[in-house]
């Protein structure tokens, strides 16, 4: 497979995209300035729940420099006051009747400058009648709770959905026959993806042609084009979405937000380009949050074997049900909750409720609720090990799905493609020096020091489709690649996905290099412009390499087969007599009789066999036959300060198996980024609310992100178990570490206190919570 000269798969090729970023010459949305461009700012609700009695915009409209003030009433005149969400609900674009969460969009000002637009926001008088706020799903489901979505026909309470997966009867039987049942109630708190670049757009509707060009922070430009056509009633050929350089996404840039819609409507009405750039508070209080999942889990045990798993979930979906997830799965892919374990029976019951909080439910660097599932099972498994008096590593090894069981059908209906869980775990334990560390932990305890070792052996499910099972708003989750090889042997690859920092321009060029022999530097990768790339569902849920990467491999192979026919023609031999090696076809047994891919590309335009179509170009739409299942074991060592409850990470060992690694440097970069975000989630990142629904966590002084100072060092390891159904055996890796690592960090802190009976600490595991646990356990100093 290794192609040393051509630097295909397995080479840490330095990134092509860096050239512009290290010079400050990237083009992010806010860097775009168009002639005559106006600026828009949004007025947001200060209340979590209030009726709007009136909105007086007259003083704002009079401010010099203000061009227009937009309210929900104006949007309603154009049938744009509400828009569909990604989960089949509706969401207010600008509020007309009520505000339903703090930060909800109420009005917009369009002005000559953003400064003037912000000034004008303060001159809009909104008369609110505050209503009682509902801030937890438990409260939302009480019989006398105020109905948040009273505008919805037939909606008489705050229930959104009930959903289940697995086999209830078989699971009940497993529990009835169990020797022991271990349970855990835990809350995966609301957190926020917080890419460093906030959301924004420049909407440019050309009054002469009717063409709407919308530059926007989009992880899914093609899907957004279709949704814009459906929402705004614009003809789809007249919409061009351009997703320029994106300053991080992590799921936050999957949904369509009101700001995009209002800016586009304003541009349409005013005939001028309109820029809207969200501020950080707007980003944190109104755009897609993640998690907010109340989870109850139980394991049925027979001896040291897990025989059943039961979970009950309650999700807080905020004011509008806007989870970004495949439409058939109301709890995302949470039913991967059996994780890395051979559990014969499992049953998942999920319920969702409206609250007066921001909508979203995007997966923060996660494939549709896999993170919550992975957290629950890895926390449960550790709890069970303590209750059984078995070492947590040993307990996992005893319950893992065995390598020979793949492909493995889980009790909730997933068909795991491949895996070798003991191998990854053993490597992690070996790198960590696990046995020695356990002895050290014992010694330290005698000296009064609290060391904890936490493990997580996660299994993810990523790379959606297949399209027949997975769709978003009806759009099947395939993806695409269009490859054009020019006469001089240089190529352009156009993709339906969109990088937000993942390095597609390099990685995908390497796939072409590997399959077609054209060096990565000769392959330009283009993404993000819907007028110039083939249709695809976008980049999230670790699906770019599993789906668009597969499309790239397939189209490269198709072009290689055409090149073979041309080579046979040029070499005057039969196609079967040709061998492909290092970017050239040569006659078997006569390596000097060869034609390079560059020769063949030239011939495709200059000297083809009679009857062949000219050119060396093609497009492929790849519908994956199955998801891919990356896995690994993460191990974390912490020490707790008995005087303060602070905990410090001493070591993080992360062994990942994401199948075949295309660019190991980029893969490791993705893993380390996820380990840092996972640490943030475990230790500090929290969006919470007071009883009136005021968001606590509305800026980076309250919503804490890990800096270089807190973030630990990472030691990485790998095993390689290729995906059997992916053309190059790759599985996707962008999210493994945020999915797997939070449980490892928390397990480590709990492990330090487990001997005193502590079984659970809730995220974020802040010093005060640890201190309380220390006091209760009699370990405080």
């Amino acid at each position: 497979m290794a192609t040393a000269e051509i630097r295909g798969i397995g080479h840490s090729v330095e990134r092509k995209e860096d050239a512009r970023f290290i010079r400050g010459k990237g083009t992010y949305v806010d860097d775009i300035t168009l002639p005559g461009m106006l600026h828009m700012e949004l007025l947001r609700s200060p209340f979590a729940h209030a009726r709007i009695r009136s909105i007086d915009t007259s003083r704002a409209a009079e401010l010099p420099g203000v061009v227009a003030v937009v309210t929900g009433e104006l949007m309603a005149q154009h049938k744009l006051a509400w828009m569909p969400t990604l989960s089949g609900d509706t969401q207010a674009v600008l509020a007309t009747d009520k505000v339903r969460f703090q930060g909800q969009e109420v009005a917009a000002v369009v002005a000559d400058t953003a400064y003037i637009a912000k000034d004008a926001l303060e001159l809009i008088d909104v008369d609110y009648e505050p209503l009682p706020a509902v801030t937890t799903p438990q409260q939302a489901l009480e019989a006398d709770a105020p109905v948040i979505r009273d505008e919805k026909e037939g909606q008489t309470d705050n229930r959104i959905y009930q959903w289940e997966a697995g086999d209830r009867e078989a699971t009940d039987r497993a529990f009835a026959e169990a020797d022991k049942v271990v349970s855990l109630d835990t809350f995966y708190p609301r957190c926020h993806p917080s890419p460093l670049e906030c959301c924004g757009c420049v909407a440019d509707v050309n009054p002469a042609t009717g063409k709407a060009t919308i530059y926007m922070t989009s992880q899914a430009p093609h899907a957004h084009r279709t949704l814009f056509a459906l929402v705004a009633g614009l003809p789809e050929q007249k919409i061009r979405i351009v997703s320029p350089d994106i300053g991080g996404g992590f799921g936050n840039k999957v949904p369509i937000y009101p700001g995009y819609v209002v800016a586009t409507a304003a541009s349409l009405l005013l005939g001028k380009p309109v820029k809207w750039i969200e501020d950080r508070t707007g980003n944190l209080i109104s755009t897609g949050y993640a998690r907010d999942y109340h989870m109850h889990g139980e394991l049925a045990l027979k001896g040291n074997r897990i025989t059943g798993l039961r979970t009950t979930l309650l999700s807080d979906n905020g004011a509008f049900y806007a989870d970004a997830q495949p439409s058939k799965f109301r709890a995302g892919l949470f039913h991967i909750v059996t994780g890395s374990y051979d559990i014969p029976a499992a049953h998942v019951v999920a319920e969702g409720a409206y609250t007066n909080k921001a909508p979203g439910g995007v997966a923060y660097r996660c494939s549709f609720r896999v993170t919550e599932a992975s957290y629950l099972i890895e926390r449960l498994v550790q709890t069970a090990a303590y209750e059984l008096g078995v070492d947590p590593a040993e307990f996992r090894l005893q319950n893992f799905i065995k390598p020979e069981q793949f492909p493995y059908e889980s009790a909730t209906g997933f068909l795991y493609d491949s895996g070798d869980y003991p191998k990854a775990m053993k490597l992690a334990l070996e790198k960590l020096g696990y046995d020695e560390l356990r002895r050290e932990q014992e010694e330290a305890r005698k000296e009064g020091r609290l060391i904890g070792i936490g493990l997580a052996s996660f299994t993810e499910v990523v790379g959606a489709g297949p399209g027949k099972h997975y769709d978003i708003a009806g759009l099947r989750m395939f993806d695409s690649a269009e490859l054009r090889v020019h006469p001089t042997g240089k190529a352009v690859l156009k993709l339906g996905v969109r990088s937000q920092g993942q390095g597609h321009e390099t990685t995908f060029a390497q796939i072409v290099a590997n399959e077609l022999g054209i060096p990565p530097e000769d392959v330009e990768v283009q993404e993000g412009d819907t007028d110039h790339t083939p249709y695809g569902l976008g980049t999230y849920a670790s699906r770019s390499t599993p789906v668009a990467g597969a499309a790239t491999a397939v189209i490269s192979r198709k072009l290689r087969e055409k090149a073979r026919t041309i080579a046979a023609h040029l070499l005057e031999t039969a196609e079967d007599d040709l061998e492909w090696e290092n970017g050239a076809f040569h006659v078997k047994g006569a390596p000097e009789r060869a034609k390079t891919i560059q020769d063949l590309a030239f011939a495709a335009y200059t000297d083809i066999p009679d009857g062949m179509e000219a050119g060396l170009e093609g497009v492929h739409y790849y519908d994956p036959p199955n998801m891919t299942f990356p896995f690994g074991t993460y191990a974390v060592v912490v020490e707790i300060d008995r005087g303060t409850g602070e905990w410090k990470v001493k070591r993080v060992v992360a062994v990942d198996d994401c199948g075949v690694r295309i660019n190991p440097m980029i893969v490791e970069g993705q893993i380390m980024g996820g380990l840092a975000e996972g640490f943030g989630i475990a230790a500090m990142e929290l969006i919470t609310f007071d009883e009136d629904g005021n968001c606590i966590g509305s800026n980076f002084m309250d919503y804490l992100l890990p800096t270089s100072w807190e973030t630990p060092e990472f030691e990485l390891g790998e095993t390689v178990t290729p995906s059997p159904h992916h053309p190059i055996g790759a599985k996707g890796v962008g999210e493994s570490a945020t999915v797997g690592s939070p449980a490892a960090y928390v397990n480590a802190v709990v492990d330090a206190l487990a001997h005193a009976g502590v079984r659970n600490l809730e995220m974020p595991v802040t010093s005060d919570k640890v201190w309380k646990a220390l006091v209760e356990a009699g370990l405080a100093e």
Partner: protein, 170 residues
């Protein structure tokens, strides 16, 4: 000067001259104009990014007389008569600055949004401390948030740049 941030009618304005990357720039600006916007909008130097508006994330970091400042919390008028260095000023006639080359070689960036601020803080650190430890680097960078890399490769990049600068005798 672009139309974008032309002073409002009746606004309090001030004539300023700021040296940016060695070139003096003069403009009549509103006194409330932030340095970040002066650089991005008035001068069109969009390499300085804005991430949080509250001095927390460091994406907007520039050097003011060689000292890192967060330009979202500095008024442009405060830069009057001072030297500002932005990411666009790192590259010289000799090519990329060693810190730029090092970020590239060590994969110290992914989405690129925090990168200008990170590189500028790193250059200021290396000027004061040409051979910093991991801990000194991590402390120096702790006012700048990166969401993509997990920082480890950024730390490596700073070491790499230190070695390059030492080899060049800078």
């Amino acid at each position: 000067m672009t139309e974008v941030l032309a002073p409002r009618e009746g606004a309090i304005t001030r004539h300023v001259t700021v040296s940016v990357n060695g070139t003096p720039h003069s403009a009549e600006i509103e006194t409330r104009l932030l340095l970040a916007h002066f650089l991005r909008e008035t001068l069109g130097l969009t390499g300085t990014h804005i991430g949080c508006d509250t001095t927390s994330c460091g994406a907007c970091t520039v050097l003011l007389d060689g000292v890192p400042v967060k330009s979202c919390t500095v008024f442009a008028v405060q830069a009057e008569g001072h030297d500002v260095t932005t990411v666009e000023g790192l590259e010289s006639g000799d090519g990329l600055h060693p810190i730029q080359q090092a970020f590239h070689e060590e994969h110290g960036l992914q989405c690129g949004y925090c990168t200008p601020g990170m590189m500028l803080v790193a250059t200021a650190l290396l000027r004061e401390n040409p051979n910093p430890t991991d801990e000194e680097i991590r402390w120096a960078l702790s006012g700048n948030v990166c969401r993509c890399t997990g920082y480890q490769n950024i730390v490596k990049a700073v070491h790499n740049a230190a070695a390059k600068l030492a080899a060049e005798g800078r």
